[in-house]
Subunit: 160 residues, 2 copies
DNA sequence: CGGAGACTGTTATAGAGCATTACAATCTGC
DNA sequence: GCAGATTGTAATGCTCTATAACAGTCTCCG
């Protein structure tokens, strides 16, 4: 039905392996390093959970935000994602090419477009969220409920 | 003294800005998203702390590991960093071009090289570690000592 | 001991992702 | 009503990393 420009190539990403014989020096004391290791693990789980959907974390975030904030502009999308406007536009192109979103003119501002989910996009986002949320919980299952809440709290505090 | 192939161009990376008017939907419930936000913040601090040194997180990790494990091979380096062998080699090239490390033949295995810090590399790594550790502490100062330890523990648990 | 298979570093190639810059249309405020 | 900011867009380029192929070397087992 819709043409898919890039023929889905799964991005293989290697896990960060812990090698017991090695001395990790200050790395073990740095929050930044611990964050990166944890995040790579999470990314691998994310990737597995969305297999076949051609989804990446930025695409996921963009789609969720469009779903929750219909009519959001591309500049705001860029801010939320921490990327430049031009990148947000390419991302929007990608979503539009797949028939997941559409751009609609805004009557109150002729410069900007509002981005909206299509019916197909709604279904896609719902399925995607279900998978990702489930995987996130599964992955976080090594922590008990209290630890999970505490981790979330500390991370948000750190991110300010 | 040593020629620097790429003329140090700082990689501007945008922060992930929180937009209060927006609905973040499931994102606020996902550990993965919180991890990413925290990590981007940390990366920005890291980048500021190493300004002028042309350092990135993988380069930092590689240099620290070489310093703490003299004679480490490039394949192991790749495993530790979570990148392919070819990437570890380019990284080693980069360090060598700057006179920070040298490759030495291993008598016990003629296939592999051992990577070692040069005297210059030793000084560089010491300065780099000082800066990064200080910045990491500063950045983590929003947490008290107990929270910091707890965060580190939870992150390591999550990364398995 | 000799060959199969695994492992090392290396090279070349390719692609994703993103920034930067420049531009035109439009909005806002003095 | 004009200067300056903002929006989407387009073109270009760079960095990081993977993939695949290759030769040299090691290991291990028949």
């Amino acid at each position: 039905m819709t043409k898919l420009p890039s023929p889905y190539r799964p991005r293989a990403l290697a896990p960060i392996r812990r090698v017991p014989e090695l001395d990790y020096d200050v790395l073990d004391e740095l929050l930044g390093y611990a964050l990166r290791r944890a995040q790579v693990g999470m990314f691998l789980a994310f990737h597995a959970a969305t297999r076949g959907m051609d989804i990446t974390p930025p695409r996921f975030t963009a789609l969720v935000m469009v779903g929750a904030n219909p009519g959001i502009g591309q500049s705001v999308l860029g801010k939320v994602l921490g990327i430049a406007r031009s990148g947000a536009m390419l991302l929007t192109d990608w979503m539009e090419e797949r028939g997941l979103v559409e751009r609609r003119r805004r009557p109150e501002d002729a410069r900007s477009w509002g981005v909206h989910l299509t019916p197909r996009g709604e279904r896609f986002v719902a399925a995607m969220k279900r998978r990702v949320v489930a995987e996130d919980r599964k992955r976080a299952a090594v922590l008990d409920a209290r630890e999970r809440r505490e981790l979330l709290r500390l991370l948000n505090k750190l991110a300010r």
